[in-house]
Symmetry: none
Subunit: 191 residues, 4 copies
DNA sequence: CATGAATGAGTATTCATTCAT
DNA sequence: AATGAATGAATACTCATTCAT
């Protein structure tokens, strides 16, 4: 087993958790090293500096999330089915990577993100935008700017998962189904 | 003209803008002083330290927002009217205090907030919660946890205003009316 | 009554107390201003800066102490009488200017004293030295370097007054007579 | 060679010298770092902050001095022999740790000393006090408050060593014997 | 490769000093 | 003359980064 790969993963995982919980600026390299059970200097074997680390992390999880959404995308199904696929993707991704989506949400406009990170994030937005645009063409989704609709779904969904993570509400299947319905009603074309 | 009051206000305003744009940890006292056109030491004449400054700021704007929502609250009108009042309050507050709501949103769970700040914020949430609870009783609002519904509206709305501030979309009356309708559909009881 | 003179005196008096209690470096100008009931800026009307203030203060009290010792000096009396005069002078000066001698003692080798201050202090030492030298000539005082003997008396006496000021022992006439005898025995020529 | 131990020692040694020469408040961390040939940040690897440093230093040398006085204490010998032991201990300690006793003397009443430091210092005083008390019982030492007698010896002795350090007088064996005799005469019971 | 001790640039904060009122 | 608000240089302390082991 390649130890070094495992170390790199530990570092990334610890960084994700800490960045999500405290934010980039309030997280120190020694904190990450300590949480990952490696020496502080070791982090610099894998990442040139703290900004490279956060960008690597950001790109990694944005890509992972993008893949989750794109995988088995029901292109030929109904808009409502597509929405279900996307929503389920968000739920699954959040379950698999506890802090990832919250980290993405709280850091996607940060001053330290490089061009590549921004491109990755834009690609993610594009998936949602394409869905919205198609939905609007088919008169299934209401006539509002795509970005606004994405903001409403994405914003609401993430704010919700913040509560779930904090333990304020419990993520039962029933709740998730209700939230999906609520979000769908927010974007779908009114009768 | 009371210069000192004006200086305190300049400091608060600059801090609001910078905290909203970069976050508390990434904002230095010299940055604030520079933006407010005062000496770094001057900030300490008005605020004991950086944490007192951010808590003062937080409480100030949460109170202002709370007042905006509570003022002329249409307690005896329909739930839909109450929702309109709240939504309009959010819009008006955001127009009057460009960065305030985003600052509140991004800092309301921060490690440096004191008890008073948390109480103020909880009072704000209570207004929304009361509205939701009444709506659910009247079967006007769907059966989801109140916190979840608040998250969906609040989250979506703020994510949207982030876009408006960034210049990605324009805040026309038409757009706002559409967004209000969208948010309402997200929470209202489905037929 | 010239108010400004009175203000200057208040400043000097407060500075003396605070420098004696906390030391020069741990005493701030606002502390002195506050204690003297004047504005901080006012201190700069009377003293160019903090170092000028401490040097003025030092010279003032060294001069006062010197005068106390020189006044009615019993040049033609016995060495023991001269010693009594000096010891009584120390006691009287300390009673009249509670913190002055301790301030002189704790600051006489400080890095911020200017040449004039050092000269004044040397003049004070000279009085004691002359007494010692005469006493040694007359075989009344033991054969040790004058500076050493001064150190022994001066050091012991001041350490004692530190205790009296701190309230650890009480300055009765009996105690003082005993201490004078003790100090005299330390310097007088042994049979 | 354990570098880290040596670094810690260098820091302590530089701090001792500078605190003795300039006092705690007038000594900056960069001054100490510079004198110890370490980076300013290194000091914080060994001492939590400046106050911890000065307390560590104080306790270290008070303990060392206490040990020097207690070692081989001639409990069953005459009071004069005990005095000789104590005096020799002071001399030896001062020769071995040039600035230590002066540092202790000038900082033993400082506002930044913690309880442990005060306890250590009180223990040191207790040694001297016990000696004085026994001497008074045996009518070998004059009837003055113990604290006063300690002040006279301790004060005089340290004032003297300040002169020796400053190079004003030379510390020959002859001088020290004379000073010991002088100090003894100050405290011993007069015929 | 991995480490963590060491560094010094950068941050929050204090305080001597100035100056408009 | 007197004030105290305002300033910014200086200080204690932190932390990203380096490098000897």
């Amino acid at each position: 087993m390649p130890t070094s790969t495992s170390k790199r993963d530990h570092i990334l995982h610890s960084a994700l958790t800490l960045f999500a919980e405290r934010g980039f600026d309030a997280t120190t390299i020694p904190m990450i090293a300590n949480d990952a059970n490696v020496g502080a200097g070791t982090i610099y074997r894998y990442f040139e500096n703290k900004e490279v680390l956060v960008n690597t992390l950001f790109q990694h999880y944005v890509t992972l999330f993008t893949n989750t959404l794109e995988e088995n995308y029901p292109q030929d199904h109904s808009i409502r089915d597509q929405f279900h696929h996307l929503f389920q993707g968000m739920v699954r991704f959040t379950n698999e990577h506890e802090h990832a989506l919250y980290f993405i949400k709280t850091h996607n406009a940060a001053y330290f993100l490089d061009d590549t990170s921004r491109e990755h994030f834009n690609h993610l937005l594009m998936i949602l935008q394409n869905f919205i645009d198609e939905g609007k063409e088919e008169k299934q989704i209401r006539e509002l700017p795509s970005k606004a609709l994405i903001a409403i779904i994405f914003g609401g969904f993430l704010e919700l998962f913040k509560l779930i993570r904090a333990g304020d509400i419990e993520a039962s299947d029933e709740l998730l189904a209700g939230v999906e319905e609520s979000c769908w009603d927010a974007v779908r074309h009114p009768e």
